[in-house]
């Protein structure tokens, strides 16, 4: 540690510092954290660039509320699923709030992810070198929508049941692979108890795992490549103005070098220059 020793250290503080140093020596967390937090980002970074982080936080909120819901939810088609949802909504302390946050959070996440994508698109932030950041993001969008699709069935009410029957039929109607995809989603040729457990595990384990993985990749690209600068940041506008000036200047120079051009003293009135040409 760089702090100067003035007298014996508080043993607790010394112990903590030693422990951190011990872990850092082996894992590099301190260096890594410093590298992550104190990397430079362009000066003009805007409020619109907070939407990706917001999507991440909403995903975290969905994970937490989802884990709480999973403590009470029963994937049972014989009324158990429906009753457990009723129980969460009406009996469990704060259950209605957790369910409400999870349900609204799904819509909020879709909206935030779309807005984030719109900002990336409008800024051309997917261009070199960030093409693969966009590709991982596109998969995140699809996975987020799949999350909504699979979660919808879990309440096992009429509306959700039939909407999901239709949605699965849509997948099953695809040529060649369709029937297999349909069987995989339904866990057989018919909608039934196995379908619900399958949707439950896809919604709780498969997609969240995939989203976490893709967020990891997405972040790796972002940190490695740096967050892009707004195409109309003050710095960019200044450079563009300078370039424009330089271009004009060059054009003027070229005009002067043309045969027949006369070098007039700059004090001459403009009209005189024009008529003399």
């Amino acid at each position: 540690m760089t702090t100067k020793d003035i007298g014996p250290k508080n043993p607790l503080q010394k112990g903590t510092e030693d422990a951190i140093d011990y872990v850092d020596e082996r894992s590099g967390v301190k260096t890594g954290t410093r590298w992550f937090l104190f990397r430079n980002i362009p000066e003009g970074t805007s409020w619109f660039q907070t939407l990706g982080f917001t999507a991440m936080v909403v995903f975290g909120m969905q994970a937490i509320t989802g884990i709480i819901l999973a403590m009470y939810y029963v994937p049972d088609t014989e009324g158990g699923a429906y009753k457990s949802i009723e129980y969460i909504t009406n009996e469990v302390t704060w259950g209605w709030l957790v369910r409400g946050m999870h349900k609204w959070g799904a819509s909020v996440m879709i909206i935030v992810v779309f807005l984030h994508m719109a900002r990336v698109f409008i800024w051309g932030a997917y261009k070199y070198p960030r093409e693969l950041t966009w590709v991982t993001g596109a998969f995140l969008l699809l996975l987020t929508m799949f999350m909504g699709l699979t979660g919808y069935l879990l309440v096992w009410d009429q509306k959700a049941y039939w909407a999901t029957v239709v949605a699965v039929n849509i997948f099953a109607s695809a040529p060649i692979l369709g029937p297999y995809i349909g069987d995989i989603l339904r866990a057989g040729p018919e909608f039934g108890p196995a379908t619900l457990s399958r949707f439950y595990s896809i919604h709780m384990l498969v997609i969240p795992g995939a989203i976490a993985t893709f967020i990891g990749l997405h972040l790796y690209f972002i940190v490695r490549l740096g967050i892009s600068e707004p195409p109309w940041s003050k710095r960019r506008l200044r450079i563009e103005r300078d370039e424009e000036d330089a271009r004009r200047e060059a054009a003027r120079e070229r005009a002067k070098a043309l045969p027949g051009a006369v070098n007039y003293p700059s004090t001459w009135p403009v009209e005189a220059k024009e008529s003399a040409r």
Partner: protein
């Protein structure tokens, strides 16, 4: 982008980074504020607009619509656009071609739009795309939000209903056919075709039962209905427009 453009970008970005500021605390500060506001907004929504528990899954209730979450309305509307068309634009367009083309476009977009220009007003093609796609999504979501809701248990305005016809109509209403098919102006205008004059096709009972057991997607299979109900339903549908008008 040409190698020279890439080099110019790298150089420019390095410059921006050099004259920039650290991620912590500047970016983190803004991020936390926006994310915090969004989480608070979600909690407020959850408190003010309570989620309900819908009807339990039960084939004998009469009014339900296969309605997806609002962010899938566009897909259902797409189905309706293609459902009542001829053989040239079959349902496969809506269920397979269009969505997959959109998804592929989404994934490979950075490899299509590769020019060095980043200012949106100098990228008319990209600008056109975003206006088109946003407009389409907003419009179809709006249509989905305003499509007819539950059909109710009132039955269909048909004449000539005998005892068998009434029984068949009850099965029809109980199984959500009306949420995809229209008969005599009652029911959703899609994704299934209008069945008002279906009888004129002259299907027999066996053909209709076979269809109901194994229809084309996205229509669900009704193979799990009791055989008596299936038969009664088949006779009812086959009589639409001829016996029952």
């Amino acid at each position: 982008m040409k190698p020279a453009d890439k080099k110019a970008y790298d150089k420019d970005y390095a410059q921006a980074k050099k004259t920039g500021k650290p991620f912590f605390p500047y970016a983190i500060f803004k991020d936390t504020i926006v994310a915090g506001l969004v989480v608070v907004a979600t909690i407020i929504l959850a408190i003010t607009v309570r989620v309900e528990v819908g009807e339990p899954v039960n084939p004998s209730t009469t009014d339900f619509v296969p309605r997806p979450e609002w962010y899938f309305y566009f897909a259902f509307e797409l189905l309706k656009i293609f459902a009542n068309q001829n053989a040239l634009t079959p349902v496969i367009m809506a269920t397979f071609m269009v969505p997959n083309i959109l998804i592929i476009l989404l994934v490979i977009w950075p490899f299509i739009d590769r020019g060095p220009e980043r200012r949106i007003w100098k990228r008319p093609f990209a600008m056109g795309m975003i206006v088109l796609v946003t407009g389409f999504l907003c419009y179809t979501t709006y249509l989905g939000a305003n499509s007819p809701g539950g059909v109710g248990s009132g039955g269909l305005p048909l004449t000539g209903l005998d005892e068998a016809g009434t029984a068949g109509m009850a099965v029809y209403m109980a199984n959500g056919c009306a949420s995809c098919h229209m008969v005599a102006g009652v029911g959703a205008p899609g994704p299934g075709p209008d069945l008002t004059n279906f009888g004129s096709k002259g299907w027999d009972t066996a053909k209709q039962v076979a269809w109901l057991k194994a229809p084309n997607a996205p229509m669900p299979s009704y193979a799990s209905l009791p055989p008596a109900e299936l038969e009664s339903l088949a006779n009812f549908v086959n009589g639409l427009g001829t016996k029952y008008k």
